[in-house]
Point group: C2
Chain length 330, copies 2
């Protein structure tokens, strides 16, 4: 079979590795060869034999490992072995649910930065109140972002949304403390100026208040504010969810009420279940490594593999490298 | 009557000035003399005569005014006249619902900074999922905060919570992108170190994910991240509220369901109605000026006046000035 894609999956790192085993055993796709990385005991549970390459590893990246050094200290850990194979073109795309810090640092050190990128930013699709989804970056990789970094995230984000979602010229907004150009600190004021000059379809600032309401394709922030925003969306949604659950559980009447709106509540929860959005990825590194949530299930894995296929088929990373080298966009 | 408090109220600036007129006309309090500032047409509607001093102004601070210059350009605007009276000890505390930018800049320029404070921070009480409330600063006054600024907000915040809420040694947490000491950018890493050295009962970092769940008395952030956090809490709560409303309005069955949980939903909404928490105020200026929301009603004004009384009775601002001059805390 020619032109088969090679997708790496790190069995360790997610809360329930059995979910990955289930996914691998049942996944049918003639276009894809799955390279799985795990301990022998994990790999022994894989019963599927076709289009599976098992890579027996003896180590595991733990949350307690030093993120910046783990790629040198645990060379036989599943995440590290997989990233090494990605770097050596043994596989085309890598998927891991392990420690975000280790994933980001190891991807950066092992796969390398695209020319012109000083610090990559972590990107992911996020939901809004409508069906609209948007690419948000940086989720927390670069907490000392410079204005140029933010412009680069916009450029690379536009390529991602263009090639993966067929949006011709994706719109870009800058997270800020007000919509006026003059708002923000020095980094944001300068970033606003540069984005206005360099980015076609730059729409100006967006306030955090509008983050679940807007229609932009891409929202840009530094890793500090971006991480605060991401976690406050998650935290407020979770806290309010608990409060609403409390309201429904109060007595028999309210429990009946809960049954009556069950369908709507399920749809509501599904919206904030990010698993169908694919994983997060570093904008600015040379090869595609995808970070899925530690709580990922078979469904989340399925979408991450589809995302990996799209990234590979569209030759997105080659285009990113070429675009940044030429210093051009669009 | 001796020892009567003089509280200034800016009639303009809130969405419905009639709310202030109603409040003033019905407020009964022998301890307080209300100094009201507004246009002649507003003041004519005040029928109460006892303990009322009317200050006829000819101008109004507008959202479109240059915040940094309005105190020099519109000296006869109600907000500016009131702040001038506060600075000249004609009144003891000032309350305004006008433009936050103009309020912050004019308070800073007209009332002056406390010695040792480089840039004041905007503070306000915020709710959590439980009954617990906490003081959050900076909401957006100082978007280029230095580590020392954050330490000063902790010191002044502790005095506020001690004198206004009788908490002996209020606990302090630093908003950050992770709980570990090593997390954050340079400003936050250095701030963490200084807070640990200087602040009794400093509890370390708090992630945005926990912002509606924690038990700290004070949470500190720079004005950029703080503003992003505040607005994302408001925005996510508002967006999710709309989604839930949509679920309940879908059909007759779901509308019946809504009736069954009406009590709980009303209590839920009340929690995110900040009006009973008093207004926001700048930590680090010499005199107490209180910023209420533009959408404030009679209830919000009532609580702002109670907050003003507490601030004046406890001599909080004198204590803040003295503490910072001595360079001591607690």
């Amino acid at each position: 079979m020619h032109n088969i894609m090679k997708i790496g999956i790190d069995i360790l790192g997610i809360d329930e590795p059995s979910r990955i085993i289930n996914f691998v055993n049942s996944y049918k796709d003639d276009e894809v060869e799955l390279y799985v990385y795990g301990l022998e005991e994990n790999l022994n549970q894989i019963t599927k034999t076709e289009n599976i390459i098992k890579n027996v590893c003896t180590e595991e990246v733990l949350m307690s490992d030093d993120a910046a050094r783990v790629h040198r200290k645990k060379k036989d850990a599943s995440m590290i072995r997989m990233l090494a194979d990605l770097n050596n073109d043994v596989i085309d795309v890598a998927i891991s649910g392990g420690s975000t810090g280790a994933f980001m640092a190891s991807s950066l050190f092992m796969l390398g930065r695209i020319e012109g990128i000083s610090k990559p930013g972590l990107a992911s699709l996020l939901p809004t109140r409508s069906e609209h989804k948007f690419l948000f970056t940086d989720l927390g990789a670069n907490v000392e972002a410079k204005p140029d970094d933010l412009v680069n995230y916009a450029k690379l984000g536009q390529l991602y949304m263009k090639y993966i979602y067929n949006i011709e010229t994706p719109s870009v907004a800058l997270l800020n403390v007000g919509v006026e150009e003059s708002k923000g600190n020095k980094v944001y004021k300068e970033a606003h100026k540069l984005l206005k000059e360099d980015i076609t379809n730059f729409k100006g600032n967006i306030e955090a208040r509008e983050i679940l309401e807007h229609k932009y394709d891409i929202v840009i922030a530094d890793g500090f504010a971006g991480n605060i925003l991401l976690k406050s969306i998650e935290g407020v949604a979770s806290s309010l969810g608990k409060m609403i659950k409390g309201i429904f559980l109060e007595n028999l009447i309210t429990k009946i009420s809960a049954l009556l709106v069950k369908k709507g509540i399920t749809a509501f929860k599904k919206k904030f279940d990010y698993s169908e959005y694919g994983g997060a990825f570093l904008l600015g590194i040379k090869k595609p490594s995808i970070k899925i949530h530690g709580s990922s299930d078979e469904n989340a894995l399925y979408y991450a593999v589809q995302q990996a296929k799209q990234i590979h088929k569209t030759k997105l990373y080659g285009i990113m490298i070429e675009t940044m080298e030429k210093g051009e966009t669009n």
